[in-house]
């Protein structure tokens, strides 16, 4: 008989504490004397009552039920699950970075502003853009920030009819969602049989109402949009702007810069390419770079350098305003800066070369066992289709679950939407050939099992702490919090 992992509330016992506060050194005024009765809480919040060891054991047990990059291979496509350097963590915890208040006088935070300014300079060079803001908190936040700037740009030109944002059918879901939140209508452009944006379709959808085209390059199939300059001129001639989704920047460091490809705005995911850890879902950081004509619209304040040191420039009359309180996810930016400075120009070049080498190696070795919908060099990631296995009754979801038994995090599955039974695999450059080979062997074994012993795959996982979970009931009868019995 199995036993459920207890919730922290279930091990709580009145009379235990896990904290240590100083003695009160001012008069112990009774709260009832200073706060009106209606505003004093009657029912106490049901928070746990546990000792420090209880807490540590609880979370250690939970951590053992979680797979991170440090636990094993994590080829989750488009998420760039590379190694998170430990040095980054130490630097971010330095007291002068971790314990400064955002509203301190500028002269007391010169070190922080210098780091931000220098990170902006590095990101400008890496992306080929003219200015960078570090304010957005994550990739999607950066997308929306960039689109708001494009909107402000058009409006500053008296151009109010540009209401549409063009997004390829292979795009991340955040692209159309960000366009909506920024007040635009989304128009989809089709991919052609080679997995690239269909230029004829692009010409058809572009027009005087086009505000921008959002593009990931290489795209979510891991393929480089080789007609990028032609696409740029189609959009620019129509008066639109070109937006670069930097989710896949790991594929082109030192090989091609968005600024040189004709992009006007770019967001980066510092938690992907630049090793801010993913944190179980965040925090991230989503800086946005722009070409010169969009600089006036940057969110304010802008970290700047003057005669008397670094300062926050609030005098930006055309700015779209603030997108976040304070100046962005500084702690993540510190980690990304540490990483960039640890790699240097030759290191960053090697990052992309090895990321692409690893992806192509895996793709070629697996092509015999799974369908390869786009047979050409990939960049940092590639997609396979589980069509062949589906005919045997084994779905891509089953393959993903079976991979868990081998100690791997599966690839991204069922995305991009244009590939049937899709598996999107991104190995990253920090994985060794031995790791790739072992994963490839597991994938080959699963392909064989699909033919010879499909139940083995269909009933997977077999070794995890829980088996497949009932997601339907979870959504139909949601239990979203613990209730004391």
């Amino acid at each position: 008989m199995h036993k459920d992992q207890p919730l922290i509330f279930e091990i709580s016992k009145p009379g235990r504490i896990g904290y240590s506060l100083p003695e009160l050194d001012v008069p112990a005024v009774n709260v009832e004397e200073v706060i009106p009765a209606d505003y004093i809480r009657i029912q106490e919040p049901e928070l746990p009552e546990v000792s420090e060891l209880d807490i540590m054991r609880h979370y250690t047990a939970l951590s053992k039920r979680n797979h991170g990059v440090d636990s094993g291979f994590y080829p989750l496509g488009s998420c760039t699950m590379k190694y998170n350097p430990k040095m980054n963590e130490n630097v971010a915890r330095l007291s002068g970075f971790a314990h400064i208040h955002p509203l301190q006088p500028e002269e007391t935070v010169q070190g922080a502003l210098e780091l931000m300014y220098d990170l902006q300079e590095h990101l400008k060079e890496i992306t080929g853009m003219d200015a960078v803001t570090l304010q957005p908190a994550a990739g999607a936040h950066g997308e929306w920030t960039g689109l708001m700037m494009i909107r402000a740009y058009h409006e500053a030109n008296g151009d109010y009819k540009r209401t549409k944002v063009i997004v390829p059918d292979s795009a991340h879901g955040t692209n159309p969602a960000s366009a909506t939140v920024a007040g635009f209508e989304t128009v989809t452009v089709k991919s052609n049989e080679n997995g690239l944006v269909d230029l004829e379709d692009l010409k058809r959808v572009v027009g005087p109402d086009t505000a921008a085209l959002m593009l990931t390059n290489p795209n979510t199939l891991g393929l480089f949009e080789e007609n990028i300059l032609e696409m740029a001129s189609i959009v620019h001639e129509a008066g639109g702007k070109l937006y670069y989704d930097g989710a896949n920047l790991n594929a082109v460091l030192s090989k091609a810069r968005p600024g040189d490809m004709g992009f006007d705005v770019v967001h980066l995911n510092l938690h992907k390419t630049f090793t801010g850890p993913h944190g179980g879902g965040g925090p991230g950081s989503g800086p946005v770079g722009v070409k010169a004509d969009l600089i006036p619209f940057l969110p304010k304040p802008v970290v700047s350098k003057g005669e008397n040191g670094y300062y926050l420039d609030y005098d930006r009359p055309q700015s779209i305003g603030r997108v976040k309180p304070f100046y962005g996810n500084f702690g993540i930016n510190v980690r990304a800066y540490t990483y960039i400075r640890s790699m240097g120009p030759d290191g960053l070049k090697a990052v992309t070369e090895y990321a692409v080498l690893n992806a192509n190696y895996m793709m070629r070795r697996l092509a015999e066992y799974y369908d390869l919908p786009y047979d050409r060099h990939c960049k940092h990631e590639f997609v396979l289709s589980g069509k062949r296995q589906k005919k045997l009754g084994v779905r891509t979801l089953d393959i993903a679950k079976r991979l868990l038994d081998f100690g791997y995090h599966p690839p991204t599955i069922y995305f991009p939407l244009i590939v049937e039974e899709c598996m999107m695999i991104e190995p990253t450059e920090t994985e060794s050939k031995e790791t790739l080979d072992a994963f490839i062997d597991a994938m080959i074994q699963i392909a064989k099992e699909a033919e010879e012993n499909p139940e083995m795959v269909q009933e997977a996982p077999h070794t995890t702490v829980v088996k497949r979970l009932d997601e339907t009931t979870a959504a139909r009868k949601p239990i979203l919090r613990y209730q004391k019995q």
């Binding site: 235990r16 896990g18 904290y19 506060l21 100083p22 009160l24 009657i42 746990p48 420090e52 979370y59 250690t60 939970l62 979680n66 699950m81 963590e89 314990h99 301190q104 006088p105 007391t108 210098e114 908190a137 994550a138 999607a140 708001m148 159309p176 909506t180 939140v181 080789e226 091609a256 938690h271 850890p277 179980g280 879902g281 965040g282 925090p283 309180p325 996810n329 500084f330 993540i332 400075r341 640890s342 240097g344 120009p345 070369e353 090895y354 692409v356 080498l357 868990l404 991204t412 450059e429 920090t430 050939k433 829980v466 009931t473 979870a474 959504a475 949601p478 239990i479 979203l480 919090r481």
Partner: protein, 448 residues
């Protein structure tokens, strides 16, 4: 090249190239047209070794005046609180911080359960039915609450109190431009939302009323009175709240709030120059299927074991795409974990004790100012912040305080011209009586 983060050997490389069927790595980039190919290397700083870079960055950090060396009375939405040491030990478990969004529940039960516990704790503190797994910060959470209200009520006018954090209001104004929401600011009177002014602006076209509790000036807003005005027509009642204060104050949920948002920075998250912190978002169950961001739900596996999954995903951008009402994807999961550990360590007793200490210390400080002849313009009940009027510019005063090792309070004149020479003083449980006395002494004769 040899680098500690790159395991590729020359031998591996050759074998892999051979398996692919190409001569060189360069060939793999042949699909990038010459015209856009970047040649050479980035013009950025050369790599430094670990010890060299550690030294450089340690020195850079030391250029900042951190609030562990200085005595800080700065709050304004970000506070210097006790962080139980255990918090950093838990979030340093790399199974947590090197994982991503728990898309594969069978190998993500740890993260999923930890966040399910976070959702529960936020519900307990706010008095709400459902809390999500976190937002970027309090400011964007507030903006998303306005967007949700507008989408839900199909109204396009938002009333926000001027006693709400100025930077939160700035973020709200930026977000509002997207769907074309009109933002109307309601003035304050004696440091709290002016009820008459609110009534005057209230009508059937309002999507929501937003106030902060405690508000930007530290004052406790009369939520009971505001709620009756806010719930006119379809309008929703949105409260931004410091969750630590809710350890002692009546939760907004009990005053009929429809949405409660805020930042959990007070629980275990360092100030770190303003981010990353931890936004939270809580709603009444009627809005459960409209809440932005990720939600963790409890379920069972095939063999009846309890387990947790991402749920109600039909709300989210990766399913709804351009029909989504929020574009949030990455959130602040690791900080939600930090906040959970801190809320757990403090527990039922500690949260109340710490919240009470904030009130007691701030009250002592306020009395000390009053007794020394300073004017404290707002007279209502307050949490851990209050406003003091001085007779000279705050910027100047803060410069002098800095020489004594004190980081003074926030200069309210930056956002409120009518509050020129007014300082917002924050006093948390970490400030000692001695430090408070020193602040009052150093300000000496700068009372109005």
């Amino acid at each position: 090249m040899l680098h500690r983060y790159l395991p590729m050997t020359e031998e591996d490389k050759q074998e892999m190239l051979k398996a692919i069927g190409v001569e060189s790595i360069d060939e793999l980039f042949s699909d990038i047209p010459e015209s856009v190919r970047f040649k050479g290397e980035y013009n950025i700083k050369k790599a430094k070794s670990e010890p060299e870079l550690m030294k450089e960055l340690t020195e850079l950090a030391a250029k900042n005046a951190d609030i562990k060396r200085y005595t800080s009375f700065l709050g304004a939405g970000v506070y210097d609180h006790y962080i139980p040491v255990i918090v950093d030990h838990v979030i340093s478990r790399s199974e947590f911080y090197t994982a991503y969004t728990p898309y594969q529940p069978e190998i993500s039960q740890g993260e999923l359960q930890a966040i399910f516990e976070f959702q529960t704790m936020i519900c307990e503190l706010t008095g709400m039915d459902v809390a999500n797994s976190s937002m970027y910060d309090g400011g964007t959470a507030l903006a998303e609450a306005a967007m949700l209200s507008a989408a839900h009520t199909k109204n396009k006018k938002v009333l926000v109190s001027k006693a709400v954090h100025p930077e939160y209001r700035d973020v709200l104004k930026t977000y509002a431009k997207g769907p074309g929401i009109e933002i109307v600011e309601i003035p304050f009177k004696n440091g709290v939302t002016d009820l008459e002014a609110l009534k005057a602006e209230m009508n059937e076209q309002v999507a929501c009323v937003i106030v902060q509790y405690p508000n930007f000036f530290g004052q406790i807003e009369p939520l009971k009175d505001i709620e009756t005005i806010a719930h006119t027509g379809k309008s929703m009642f949105v409260v931004a709240s410091n969750p630590l204060a809710l350890g002692i104050l009546t939760p907004p949920g009990q005053f009929g709030a429809d949405i409660v948002v805020g930042d959990a920075q007070a629980f275990g998250i360092p100030t770190q120059f303003g981010g990353p912190h931890c936004g939270y978002f809580a709603v009444k169950s009627a809005l459960m299927r409209k809440i932005p961001g990720r939600l963790i739900g409890q379920t069972t596996d095939e063999e009846g074991r309890r387990g947790f999954v991402l749920t109600l995903q039909a709300r989210e951008q990766h399913i709804r795409r351009d029909k989504a009402t929020s574009n949030i994807c990455s959130n602040q999961a690791l900080n939600a974990l930090a906040a959970s550990v801190a809320m757990t360590a403090l527990g039922k007793k500690g949260v109340k004790e710490m919240a009470t200490m904030n009130i007691q210390k701030a009250l002592y400080a306020k009395k000390a100012f009053v007794e020394n002849g300073f004017e404290v313009p707002f007279t209502g009940p307050f949490f851990n912040e209050f406003v003091v009027k001085l007779n000279k510019p705050i910027k100047e005063v803060n410069k002098q305080l800095l020489e004594k090792g004190i980081i003074g309070g926030y200069d309210l004149g930056r956002d409120y011209p009518e509050l020129e020479n007014h300082m917002l003083v924050a006093v948390t449980e970490l400030r000692t009586k001695e430090e408070i006395d020193m602040l009052v002494k150093e300000l000496g004769d700068s009372h109005a």
